[in-house]
């Protein structure tokens, strides 16, 4: 369902990759591996449409994502490097707003359950640790079962063993239900991915 052909990316006058092609179908997961600076984050941002590639095209169900714009955005969840949470809001408010921005409406109880599952305390985000902030961001995945494509950039960073286990469970459940997950990591997360792409 997700296809990319001939992708090329040049950042700061350095060619990170060129002629890169990939395909991801329902129920499959893709692990993008590579050293720091090999272009993992750039590739993910190209796949979600934030970064236009210098060459090549990304297609969702046969149509280019540049023409799909918001329609494509509704089919993906993108969690980037920075846990996209605002310091001045509580995790609950952050999650509620994040979901509304994505166009889904979720009752407050489900939000609280998701946060409880990840054991995120409900104080202002600025008082949370890095790991807790990431958990607060990842809690969104509990409520994104219906969104087909998950694009996760270094999701295992700053997580403890329990957090990693929770995340692995979520990814496996999602792919089992027919969803797709593409994630980047520079370490071995101990999760079996259908495909592996080495960059650099």
């Amino acid at each position: 369902m997700l296809e990319a052909a001939g992708l090329e990316c040049v950042r700061q006058q350095r060619k990170l990759f060129s002629g890169l092609s990939l395909a991801l179908g329902a129920g499959e997961s893709l692990r993008v591996a590579g050293a720091n600076g090999s272009g993992k984050t750039s590739l993910l941002r190209i796949l979600c449409g934030l970064l236009p590639p210098d060459a090549g095209e990304v297609r969702w169900k046969g149509e280019g994502i540049r023409s799909l714009r918001e329609e494509y955005a509704r089919q993906i969840v993108y969690l980037g490097h920075a846990p996209a949470v605002k310091d001045e809001l509580t995790p609950e408010e952050n999650l509620g707003i994040g979901l509304q921005l994505a166009g889904t409406h979720v009752p407050p109880d489900s939000i609280r359950d998701a946060l409880a599952r990840f054991q995120v305390p409900n104080s202002f985000v600025k008082r949370l640790s890095q790991g807790q902030k990431r958990r607060a961001a990842l809690a969104r995945l509990c409520l994104s079962g219906s969104v087909p494509l998950w694009l996760l950039d270094e999701p295992f960073t700053a997580l403890d063993v329990q957090g990693i286990g929770l995340l692995k469970e979520l990814i496996e459940t999602h792919t089992r239900r027919g969803g797709m997950v593409a994630f980047t990591t520079h370490q071995d997360p101990g999760i079996a991915a259908s495909r592996v792409l080495e960059l650099g």
Binding site: P52, L101, G103
Partner: protein
């Protein structure tokens, strides 16, 4: 516009207002800046009542311009820094509409307070009370335009080294027509010829800016987020 987009819009508006409320310090600082700048002029040019009365509209407007400039940084900067801007870019509602909601929220937190405080400054300058309505109306029409035009500059300079100074260089020349019309409305009113023409032009500028600025802001945001 579907209900999903309307909800996302209301959500953005509410979110930005909530954040402004929780960061009251930032809002208050910009307002204080407005008052301080306006207080500097008598110290610089002397406090003769006639002179002050004459320069009052211009001074208040210039101070409003500078204060607006100061508050523009927080429109996108913090969202860019913590990654929430990307989530907004990947949202369900068209970016142009979302950006308009942000500009409205910005005006409510930064521009509207200026309109409320301006009469106090006018008092300091002994501006005749009969001119207060024109002053308030000119600011009420002009400050949203400042927010919209300024947002273009804020989006273009997102995350750059030059920072606030570069933003000022980009945006102040574009502010000139609003300054001329706004101060002009009050001055014409003071001269007795009524400032209706200028106010109408300001209203037209507002409509124009509301229609076209969102495109530029959205384009600039996408460029800055690459």
């Amino acid at each position: 516009m579907g209900s999903v987009e309307m909800r996302a819009l209301r959500c953005v508006l509410w979110r930005d207002l909530l954040l402004a409320l929780r960061r009251r310090g930032d809002v208050a600082t910009a307002l204080l800046f407005f008052v301080i700048v306006a207080s500097l002029f008598p110290l610089g040019v002397g406090a003769q009542p006639n002179l002050l009365r004459e320069i009052a509209p211009g001074v208040i407007w210039v101070a409003a311009l500078l204060s607006s400039l100061l508050s523009l940084r927080r429109l996108f900067e913090s969202d860019h820094a913590d990654g929430t801007l990307e989530q907004i870019l990947l949202g369900a509602a068209p970016l142009g509409v979302v950006v308009l909601a942000k500009a409205v929220a910005h005006w409510l937190a930064a521009g509207l307070p200026l309109v409320a405080i301006a009469p106090v400054i006018a008092l300091q300058y002994d501006l005749p009370a009969v001119l207060y309505p024109v002053l308030a109306l000119s600011l009420a029409l002009g400050t949203p335009v400042l927010s919209l035009i300024g947002a273009i500059g804020a989006a273009l300079t997102l995350g750059l080294r030059g920072g606030g100074v570069l933003l000022a260089l980009l945006v102040l020349p574009l502010y000139v027509p609003v300054l001329i019309l706004g101060a002009g409305a009050v001055e014409m009113s003071a001269a007795g010829s009524g400032g209706e023409a200028q106010l109408l032009l300001l209203a037209a500028a507002l409509v124009f800016a509301a229609a076209f600025a969102p495109w530029a802001i959205a384009a600039a945001l996408r460029i800055s987020s690459e």
